[in-house]
């Protein structure tokens, strides 16, 4: 059966495609900010902390995704506070939160009576298991994040370019710091169903990093990252369907390979054009 026929026939594939497209748009917008602000590792730390919430959800008997959101947001605020205070080096804080979240997840699951649940869909994603609730969460998070980015777009640009100058000018940099950390947290958790905790960082970084090679405007980068992300997600879904392999892994492998292909193509074009390509594209 062709994938198109299957999409028309099966509701779970329709949810998978719709959620995948939303995840691509969300990942693009947040990903460009993450890449430009150099928050990739912090995003990884926030996302992995969510595993503790998943474990707690299973142990205490509530929806694991609620636990994941709570842990990720708490980690984002905690990391943000410590980072702003400058008490520790950033990578130390990230490492501590990262490992603590994972350890708590393992601990909570080990405390459960009987057979432990299979958490592989949270770790590695399973877009084909997405239902109406997951789709609704993804749609809500995407809408809210897009709205916040669009409403304060020029402030984001000033903040990302030079937050010290923005702070001197009286722009609410602490508010923007915490806002971006919380947006990363909710976006990453919403995307867990697509690529999983371990792989979500690729959906945040690969499309944004590839877009940075192709255009020079912040808004344009978000749009191109969204298009690339959609291509990676849909392509990965198709490969996964055709070869009957893990969807999350397919999406991530396609995204990373594509990034290196785009990087190589841009380098080759730049060399052939005597280094003029980049500036030409950027003007």
């Amino acid at each position: 059966m062709l994938m198109l026929e299957a999409v028309l026939q099966y509701r779970f594939l329709q949810y998978a495609i719709a959620t995948g497209i939303l995840a691509s748009v969300l990942g693009a917008v947040i990903g460009v900010i993450v890449v430009e602000k150099r928050l990739v590792m912090m995003s990884g730390g926030i996302t992995h902390t969510a595993y503790g919430g998943v474990g707690l959800g299973y142990l205490a008997g509530f929806e694991p995704m609620i636990g994941a959101f709570a842990f990720a947001i708490a980690a984002a605020l905690g990391m943000g506070y410590i980072k702003r205070k400058g008490t520790f080096k950033s990578d130390v804080i990230i490492g501590l939160f990262w490992s603590l979240g994972m350890a708590l997840g393992v601990l909570f699951i080990s405390m459960m009576k009987g057979y432990p649940p299979d958490l592989s869909s949270y770790l590695f994603g399973n877009i084909l298991s997405v239902g109406l609730t997951d789709f609704t969460i993804m749609a809500l998070v995407t809408a809210v994040v897009l709205l916040i980015v669009v409403i304060f777009f020029n402030y984001w640009k000033a903040y990302l370019f030079d937050d010290k100058f923005a702070e001197i000018r009286g722009i609410s940099v602490p508010v923007m710091d915490y806002l971006i950390f919380v947006m990363i947290a909710v976006s990453a958790v919403a995307m867990i169903r697509v690529t999983g905790i371990i792989l979500v960082i690729a959906l945040l970084t690969a499309p944004a990093a590839a877009a940075s090679l192709l255009t020079a405007g912040l808004g344009k980068r978000m749009v191109i990252a969204g298009i690339l992300g959609t291509f990676f997600t849909m392509g990965g879904l198709w490969v996964s369907y055709m070869l009957d392999i893990s969807t999350g892994a397919s999406i991530v492998i396609l995204a990373v390979i594509s990034y290196f292909l785009i990087w190589s193509a841009v380098r080759i074009l730049a060399v052939n054009a005597g280094g003029r390509v980049r500036n030409k594209w950027m003007s």
């Binding site: 020029n154 402030y155 923005a166 001197i168 722009i171 020079a216 344009k220 950027m282």
Partner: protein, 262 residues
Amino acid sequence: MNESRGTAIHVSGLTVAYGNNLALDNVRLDVEIGDYMGIIGPNGGGKSTLLKAVMGLTDIMAGEITIMGKSLREGRKLIGYVPQSAEFDRNFPIDVLEVVLTGMLPKGLKPFRRYSEEEIRQAHDLLGSVGIEHLARNHISALSGGEFQKMLIARALAAKPKILLLDEPTASVDASSRAQIYDLLDELNKEVTIILVTHDLLAISSRVRRLACLNNRLIYHGEPELNEDVVTNLYGCPVDLIAHGVPHRVLKEHGGEDGCSC
């Protein structure tokens, strides 16, 4: 703007520490309105920390700072800051005009804030005043070191500051651009108070009107006629005062017996 018209910045008993390291130790400094002050000192001597403290960007252990007679929180809005160009990611997706426009954003967070036609015209004028209006729509990666620094000066001026703080504005520019930047600062000093952190002894000897020498403590504060004793006291070793038109970069940690590693 040569005549004194009050105090632009008053710093007293300022002490700042990073962990166990004392970056500034009981520093007292007054900058008059209209001053053109140079701040020199070894790397790690607290020059950039002093600027950060004056802009309210670092926690202070002790001391007081007032700006134009106002508290730090209120007064820092009167400051235009020009950081070192080396601090920036040249691939950041923004063009020259947009950088200048960021200096016009109002405080707080105003929803759906777009730039008006008037603001865009003013930004073009500011770029014209620093001599790079023709580069307005270029990406920042296309700028030379000198042009980048002029763009940052235009951005600082966009906020209509009373005081301009510059952190080594000529650190990564060629000799021709360096002279242009100093000429520009001379011109700007007719309207704004200027504080210039630099390692460029040529600028100290020929441009600034007052000098502060900082090595965690304030070693000297006065006329810019440096004598050998002051410089030796400042850097902790003999320093060649002949600038040769090339900025000296003096390391705090000196090696060997032959003097400093300039």
